[in-house]
């Protein structure tokens, strides 16, 4: 290897080591294969079969759908339940909305995680690995949808959130909630295909839908996308989250890190050399006359 080749290799390897995988990972992922779920809220009847299926599938709380009266007021997901169905009173009557982790295309939680315990899989679902997690809860602070939940009352707490039934997907099955849905509210497939279906529905029934697909552009695109008959702020969605993928907010800062890490020591060493060689530690006479000191 000649000298130039060596320098090149070192430079590239060094940059890759510093920049890390995330910058590369997004390029490797194929958006065509990115899976997700389309939720057509106009079809949901609020039977909460999905809630039951989710609880059974993941050994979590299985709600007593007929008697618990949980639809009376909006709930959030919790460390016991990865998903909930909420009833919203709107201008066209009651609308039922299933809420869970949105599985962002560029997930804030996965970017935030210092140990890659929150992991964005190649096909889209964002899953959590307990062996790596240190419990810092940075994922919770960063998630714009407040979806990762923490077991505050456990000595060995886990982060709980929807995995899009990653194990089932690996086995070639659909997520449990999709399988359980009796009204085809939920459609599982690649995100590209789901977006086509959603657009087609809006196009063929322009009066039945608001002309927006929530999750198409929000926070850079999410795996779960939603159709609605009423504006999304009426059914519990935040509409002020912007379209910037959340990792972008820290990317610029992290970009400055190598610059400071290598630039500043060089600058300081140079400065130190320029200042001269009156070594510190060689005590000079200290002047005690306050009037003469301090304002040079």
């Amino acid at each position: 290897m000649d000298r130039r080749g060596f320098l090149k290799t070192t430079l590239v390897a060094g940059t890759a080591a510093l920049a890390g995988e995330p910058l590369c990972a997004q390029e490797q992922r194929n958006p065509e294969e990115f899976v997700g779920i389309l939720v057509d809220t106009t079809r949901c009847i609020g039977c909460r079969a999905c809630e039951v299926a989710c609880g059974e599938e993941h050994d979590m709380l299985v709600p007593d759908v007929l008697n618990d009266g949980a639809l009376e007021k909006p709930r959030k997901t919790s460390d016991k339940q990865w998903m909930v169905v909420n009833k919203h009173e709107t201008e066209i009557g009651d609308v039922f909305v299933k809420r869970q982790c949105m599985h962002c295309y560029q997930a804030a939680c996965a970017t935030a995680c210092p140990t890659e315990a929150m992991n964005q899989t190649m096909k889209g679902p964002v899953i959590w690995d307990g062996n790596k997690c240190i419990g810092c809860r940075y994922c919770m602070t960063s998630c714009p949808f407040e979806m990762p939940k923490f077991e505050y009352n456990e000595w060995n707490p886990k982060i709980q959130k929807c995995t899009m039934c990653f194990d089932r997907l690996e086995a070639g099955q659909k997520p449990a909630c999709v399988k359980a849905c009796p009204t085809d509210t939920l459609i599982f497939g690649t995100r590209v295909k789901n977006l086509e279906i959603a657009r087609h529905r809006i196009y063929s029934h322009p009066d039945e839908y608001v002309h927006q697909i929530y999750g198409e552009h929000e926070v850079g695109g999410t795996g779960y996308i939603y159709l609605s008959a009423v504006p999304f702020d009426q059914i519990g969605f935040r509409t002020d989250l912007g379209t910037t993928p959340y990792p972008e907010y820290t990317k610029e800062f992290l970009y400055a890190v190598p610059m400071v890490l290598f630039g500043l020591p060089a600058f300081l060493l140079g400065l130190n050399a320029l200042v001269g060689n009156n070594e510190p530690g060689v005590e000079k006479e200290i002047e005690f006359d306050i009037d003469n000191e301090g304002d040079e």
């Binding site: 510093l18 910058l23 140990t115 997690c133 009156n278």
Partner: protein
Amino acid sequence: MNRDVAVAGEFGRFFRFLFQEMKPRGPWLTPFNIISIPIILAGVVIVCFRFVYGLGSVTNLTQETPWGFWLGFDVVTGIALAGGAYVITFVVYVMKVDKYHSIVRVTVLNGLLAYIFYGGALLFDIGRPWQAYNPYIGNSFGFSSVMFLICWHFMLYMIAEFIEFSPVITEWLGWEKTRKFLKKLTLATVIMGITLSMLHQSGLGGLFLMAKPKIHPLWWSEFLPILFFVSSIYAGLAMIIFEGTISHRIFKNLIPASSHHSFNDMIFGLAKGAAITMFVYYFFKALLFIHDKQWEMLDDGWGYWFLLEVIGFVLVPALMFAFGFRNRSLNIIKIASVMALLGIVLNRLNVSIITFNWYADVHYYPSWQEIMVTLMIICTEIWIFRWIVTRMPVFSSDHPD
């Protein structure tokens, strides 16, 4: 054989010396001891509860407010207030300004202890501290995470600070050769320390960049890292004035008389530095405010709160520093340093806790247990600080160089 005996004797002497030094000195029933011992004991009990029954049993944390007082005050605020060490080592070792040489040791010690205790407070706060080694080993490096950067920098900075402080320990133990070697590392570790400080002081601001929709827009800014870094400079300077003033009163007999005079003299220099940095910070804040056209946000409670922080606890102390410097008034400078420190506390708590989820109906406030554990950490730190300064040559060195 003889050598073994000699080595054994050396060890014996060393441990006898350590044992001797471990013994308490001075009166036991001081007001500080009477207050701090029950606090520390209560804190230990609460920490035990936290490890058995989970964070929820002692904190008011919720799913919506995952970071509370332990992170917002102990870590984010505590580390900002420990900024003095990198500022002073920069001035003394890089710029070779001898004037501040006599406060380097105590400032570095304060920095080191602050990182050990306030950075260490993270271990109570994170859910699975027994896996805390994960960011440092194995294949799970979250390079894209600001928290990852902070984990590493805290550790590296503690090592750097320890090396910077270690000549004092070797003087105490009388290890002359080791001292010579460690002294040679000083400039390198100082430069590493400054670099790491710049990155993790700003990194603490970087932690909140992705919390954009949750923090009040008057406080969230894409320049949070720069704001945190700039304010950590004057936080450190104000802390040196504040801490030094107290130390010079409490440890009067440990400090040579000449240092009392030179410290007063240093205060004026520190005040001037603080005034300038604070004006720069204030100017930057104002620029961001005007640039983001946030005028209409001023007209409610949050707006007034913002003005109180930025004008009352940044601009006013900045002016007081400048006035105190011009008019040679130590008292005004000391009051200004307290106000500047309060301003830092206010700012860090505003970003991390107070305006976090500002739109929510139910707001987080710390439980008494969270405050007690924080007090425990502060008290323990003071105990260790006192132990070190009464035994090691921190305030004055009788070493030939």
